[in-house]
Amino acid sequence: MANVLLSAKDIKIRFGGIIAADGIDLDIHEGENLAIIGPNGAGKTTFLNISTGYLRPQAGTVTFLGHDITAHLPRSITKLGIARAFQIPQLFLDQTVMENMLIAAASRQRYPSGFKALSRLPEAPEMERLLELVGVRSYADRTARELPEGQRKLVDIALALALKPKLLLMDEPTSGVASSEKLEIMDILTAALAKEKVTSVFVEHDMDMVERYAHRVAVWNVGKIQKLGTPAEVLMDPKVREQVIGI
């Protein structure tokens, strides 16, 4: 069994009457692609928000490589090695794609420069390589605002990869993308993750994507993990098929 990167123990959080996490226990192992599926409102994104410090659970702990990160700020969790890509790509829209990447590269430094030009950072070739890896190198000089949605998603993921994370959490990496582009994006993405040796967790509604790209699947339902296992085990489960997939 590979090392446990992130471990959530008995995570609980509720928003008024809505239970978003009700005793979540989950270990994420190094090198795997874990898919999180479940109906809307099941608490999938809440789990990502807790794991990245955006939300603090009302009970339970999250540890990453042995560090308790439950009460940490997003930026300190990022520094530890957890990066995040968003359902709606979060880019600096008025800056070019390359500037976006170089801002990410500069963010890795403890004291970013206020004198040296951003474009002359020594990380520039590495950022170009990452853009090439996710297939958006040709957009490097365009402002992020000019990019189509699919390319914005890829740049968002490239930004996360620029941080050299050990774990990447992605919220619906193919949502808002045309069906014809989904496979291409996921192919690019999983190849990039494998090349960079990044463990990933992705929330997904498209079961074809889950079956094809996930090593394990966790089924969320009303703040609980209803089932956890390989795609074959989980997606063939009659209860999951009825309650979550809707077949």
Partner: protein, 318 residues
């Protein structure tokens, strides 16, 4: 922005050359250009904060802090030196900016602006009410300082302070443009477009804004000391909210997309005031108001945005 840098930098060089040469032919312009350059230095600080989408309605407090640093030195310690005043004013406003900044960078938008205003009004009240130390509304006269041990007649001094202001303005302009193109400058702009993402990249947006805030306070203080030396007085009006409004006005007038916007705005403002006041007495604010309305309607990116608008219209863009 990168496409505009070269032409605007060329205009900036011409502007600084004119500032150096024109007053040699018209002596009354020496003080006018010195004021333009000194206020341009202050407004650079406002332009810096505009990158993050934040407007300070209280930046005159640093302007006043710099001016009163020079004034207090002259009143309580003795005759001073231009460079000493500039260094002391820069240091005092930097410390002051750090203290105020630790509070204000926690807030954004209108709350940021109004908290700055509140701090500046506290300082203004102190300057007004602590009459025993500050001479109240009368202010403190700033005796004409030396420069490196040399004393000057009033006629020569107006040129000395002009060229010192010019050197400081050029240094501040180059430093600011460099800063805006650096990682910290880009991160400052990132606060405006997506602060959450910046935090998820592992950067503290507050820290980025605090660094910029302290730099802007430093510039405010240096500009304040220069104006106090040019006008040879520091009064509480230097820290009043209308003075802060004036700096924001100049920044909008000039445009925030390039460091030169601060000087373009200051030149426009001071020239309109200089000539409108001469011909329209107390109605010069009316002229300035009309100019600002015209800028907002026809050049929302300020004077330096005019060129971009012109080049777009030539290409047939709308």
């Amino acid at each position: 922005m990168t496409t505009r840098i070269k032409p605007i930098t060329a205009v900036a060089v011409i502007f600084f050359l004119v500032s150096a040469i024109a007053p040699l032919f018209v002596s009354s312009w020496a003080t006018l250009f010195a004021l333009i350059l000194a206020k341009g230095v202050v407004v650079l600080g406002i332009v810096l904060l505009l990158q993050a989408g934040q407007v300070s309605f209280g930046h005159a407090m640093f302007f006043a802090a710099g001016a009163y640093t020079a004034a207090f030195w002259g009143k309580y310690i003795g005759s001073g030196d231009i460079l000493l005043y500039v260094v002391l004013a820069g240091a005092s406003s930097t410390v002051f900016g750090l203290i105020v900044g630790l509070f204000v960078v926690r807030y954004r938008q209108i709350f940021f602006g109004m908290l700055n205003l509140a701090f500046s009004m506290v300082l203004w009240s102190l300057l007004e009410k602590m009459f025993h130390y500050t001479n109240g509304a009368d202010g403190i006269r700033v005796a004409r300082p030396d420069l490196l041990g040399f004393s000057f007649t009033p006629e020569v001094f107006q040129y000395v302070i002009l060229y010192v202001s010019l050197l400081i303005a050029v240094a501040a302009f180059c430093g600011m443009q460099r800063y805006l193109e650096s990682p910290l400058g880009h991160m400052l702009r990132a606060i405006k477009s997506n602060e959450t993402r910046l935090e998820y990249l592992g950067m503290s947006a507050r820290r980025v804004l605090l660094i910029a805030y302290v730099i802007s306070a430093f510039l405010g203080g240096v500009g304040g000391a220069l104006v106090a030396m040019i006008q040879q007085i520091a009064t509480p009006e230097f820290g009043f909210w209308t003075k802060s409004g004036e700096f924001v006005f100049i920044a909008i007038l000039g445009g925030g997309a390039h460091a030169f916007g601060a000087f373009a705005g200051a030149a426009m403002f001071e020239c309109v005031r200089f000539y409108a006041a001469a011909h329209l007495a107390d109605s010069w604010q009316l002229i300035l108001g009309v100019v600002l309305i015209a800028i907002i309607l026809y050049a929302p990116n300020g004077l330096i945005g005019l060129r971009q608008r012109y080049s777009h219209s030539r290409k047939g863009e709308h």
